[in-house]
Symmetry: C2
Subunit: 214 residues, 2 copies
């Protein structure tokens, strides 16, 4: 493995999926070569940033020409670990959890939902969008045996930390938290959060402080 590429800045990592999506669009349009400028436009960023970001992956471009779309797409997929599926478990079988299970985008992009967990005994044993619901108490056992790498928390805030602890105990390496609360995980476990109300509150701030336009 190339060693110089080690440690890609977090900001760059967060942009890679955006580039990836852009590349996928180009493939659909049968476009074989793309310049950093074009890619920048599609991804909504600066061209220099694109070139710097891509340079972390290696020298996959050709000066005077651009990047080979398919080759770059492959390299990026490999770097992002998307050449194989990542089984995902969703914890929380309420509104949000069910919606996420129903959301086809996960499986389609290589993150099949292989299990759900809920605290409500009435739902345990039933299937949501074809996925069997287990009880929250069985997270450690089941998640480990299913080889879950990524856990999605879609529980109420009050249960989130406890669920996170269980997921970590089950050997899950990455957690995506939808619960509106701060949770902590040990070093070595990745954590990202999505907070819907929080986003709206941020927008509210700017809305409130907007210059009164004439």
């Amino acid at each position: 493995m190339s060693d110089r590429a080690r440690h890609i800045p977090e900001a760059t990592v967060a942009r890679l999926p955006v580039y990836l999506r852009s590349l996928a669009e180009l493939v659909d349009d049968k476009i074989t070569t793309v310049s950093s400028e074009r890619l920048a436009e599609m991804a909504g960023v600066n061209a220099a940033k694109v070139r710097k970001d891509l340079s972390y992956l290696g020298s996959y471009g050709t000066r005077g020409v651009g990047y080979d779309v398919e080759y770059l797409l492959f390299q990026m997929s490999r770097e992002l670990g998307l050449t194989h599926d990542w089984p995902v478990a969703i914890v929380g079988a309420g509104n949000l959890g069910s919606a996420l299970a129903n959301y086809g985008g996960f499986t389609q992009r290589g993150f099949p939902v292989v299990a759900m967990f809920g605290a409500d005994r009435a739902k345990v044993g039933h299937r949501v969008h074809g996925v069997l619901v287990h009880h929250t108490d069985d997270i450690v056992e089941r998640a480990a045996e299913l080889g879950i790498g990524i856990g999605v928390i879609a529980t109420p805030a009050s249960a989130a930390q406890d669920v996170a602890d269980k997921l970590v105990a089950a050997g899950v390496g990455s957690v995506l938290n939808f619960a509106p609360t701060v949770i902590t995980v040990p070093d070595g476990v990745s954590l990202r959060k999505v907070d819907l109300a929080l986003e709206l509150q941020i927008l509210s701030f700017y809305q409130e402080h907007r210059e009164p336009t004439a």
Copy 2:
């Protein structure tokens, strides 16, 4: 209005809702005073950062004591523009849009969903979680007359930019985009995005590059 506080860093604005939530918890627990250290722990950040962030709002703390929870909560709500409701419209009546409409967290936090828009004529005229669904073609007219300030895009990627343009034309000042694509809005309009698959792909990267632990 205080003038020195103008221009609060974006990173700070993004943290304010987290502090707000922490303060709300403290109120529930009947705790009247809080130190930056305690607040930092609850919000999962550094204490110095808390103090600097709060100092942008004004000098609402008392040296030697801490911050008065209720007073700070009020000031922060005011700054975030949460002292009044912000009517929201959701565009996209599919899986995600319906889930968002059903998600009680919005209304509960001061963002009542007052209208939905969908491209599917079969859904137009029906109600989702009590909210009437209009046709996408009527966004400009309806959103303007309902005084919508914030628009939520929950359409497929292909329709997102067109919907965004319509929302802007209707006078919407803030857009929250759930569609997995990059959209652009004019200067003066706020834009935030939530991309579920993107978050998983980022996690996938770190999962793939994790040191193989013994």
